[in-house]
Point group: C2
Chain length 292, copies 2
């Protein structure tokens, strides 16, 4: 059994990006990060994104907004960034405080600056296998992690547990593409699936993105499978200073011994997501500058 080291793989992605960015002439690629309010998780995520951008040599601009900002004000700001030639990528940190509409804001971001890959047009391009679009960072990170771990997808049966817009569906659409690195057979399971363990046990590669702590147990996994745990669940833990610990969607202790490879939580998909955000930003820069 091998533990897939998401931190290490993400570091190799960012090292590649750093080398690429160093070759650019003119201004550096620029990501603008928008954070509304002071949600501690958002503060931490945005800080990590700024830090990674700096490591690669990207310019990052941080816009901090009060929770009192209105929807029209936020949309006007996004419109300005959409037409700002110095900005390649725009990221609005989720979750937005109520009553702001996340969907409306995400759709407001110009598709060619939507480095989060949440825009309707980018999801459509993913389904159409049009590589000019941006793929959402978590599913893109999952596939990149598998590739850099030497896991072949072609002809394999991938079972995706969860049909969310930002993980399950795009991961499935990506894995089934007619590409030499993809070409997987894909099953999408979810809360309404009957006989779930019988399906997950067929997976050569199991992607767990259902948002239920330690949901995937040993009886649901085929010996020798590759398991990617996308869950980020906070469960109460009085032994921790924070009062909680992070756990994935997989019961790691019992499942890991069965697997050929498994990604842990934390230190698995999480770091990959940030790395892919940077990769999307560099791609947006290349497209904006007519580079290959």
């Amino acid at each position: 059994m091998e533990i897939i080291d998401g931190n290490q793989i993400a570091a190799s992605v960012t090292a590649d990006l750093k080398a690429e960015v160093a070759r650019f002439t003119g201004r550096r690629p620029c990501i603008t990060l928008i954070r509304v309010g002071e949600d501690p998780a958002s503060v931490s995520y945005v800080r990590k994104k700024e830090k990674t951008a700096a490591e690669i040599g990207l310019e990052s601009r941080l816009i901090l907004l009060p929770v009192t900002i209105t929807q029209p004000e936020l949309c006007t700001l996004v419109d300005q960034l959409n037409t700002d030639d110095g900005v390649d990528g725009i990221l609005v940190q989720s979750p937005l405080p109520k009553p702001l509409s996340e969907v409306a804001v995400f759709r407001r971001i110009a598709a060619h600056k939507d480095v989060d890959g949440f825009h309707t047009l980018n999801l459509g391009k993913l389904a159409q296998e049009d590589d000019t679009g941006f793929v959402a960072c978590t599913p893109a990170g999952i596939i990149e992690m598998l590739q850099r771990s030497g896991v072949t997808l072609s002809g394999k049966h991938i079972v995706v547990l969860g049909r969310s817009l930002i993980v399950g569906k795009p991961a499935a659409l990506l894995a089934m593409q007619r590409k030499p690195w993809a070409n997987a057979t894909v099953t999408i399971c979810h809360s309404q699936t009957a006989n779930l363990p019988a399906l997950t046990r067929q997976a050569d590669i199991l992607i767990a993105a259902i948002g239920k702590p330690e949901f995937v147990t040993a009886d649901m996994v085929k010996p020798g499978a590759v398991v990617i745990d996308v869950g980020v669940n906070r469960v109460p833990d009085s032994s921790r200073k924070t009062g909680y610990r992070l756990t994935g969607d997989v019961h790691f202790a019992s499942v890991a011994p069965l697997c050929a490879k498994i990604s842990p939580v934390p230190g698995g998909v999480g770091p990959m997501t940030v790395a892919m955000l940077m990769k999307n930003t560099v791609k947006a820069y290349r497209q904006n500058h007519g580079l290959a």
Copy 2:
């Protein structure tokens, strides 16, 4: 075993549409059909669409273009139709003769008039479960046919054979939606799938859209399954005046006795596709007129 009568179900869809259209005040919904050249199959498909539109009480406009039309000329025509308030839906009959680019023309059609459901934005909306978009007519017709045949999707395992943009992928995205009438578990198989019969045999509902005549044989189907045959293959047949016969992707003679229900070719999905085109046109009209 019950044979699903696509003609009958399509007739009930068009009857519903006719009743709905009769209640509209003002101008009738209008679909504009564009045909380039004289491909016999295209001539026949477009005639069928005109006829169905007339039955429902829709206005249809037919634009016939010579094969010598250029890409820019065709795009200019689409642009004019996009801004013509009297046109609700635009359909460019596929296939376009070379060297015209079908993809470029389909993307040129305004998303809100794209009653074929091929636009990137409409595919994205399907993935996002945004019902303001248009779903491609064949997959929409498959689901409508299943519903009107009393087949429940929720919790069922649907295996889709084929990952095409206009059938396999949208059918999968539709069937897995978080809707009471959907909620299916979905597996997408294709040419690169290993152990295909073992997967198709698990299907409660098997959707064959792989484009290979009589590819699905009895050993690939679970007894009691519902089988939807989307294939339209011409195979040489010297006993016919045309020199060919139409066959589906399913070996009907051996598979049908196993099934709870099966759709034939011809007379299955085909008529549903035309009916759903009309349903999309009425929907476009409603959206253009701010009706529910």
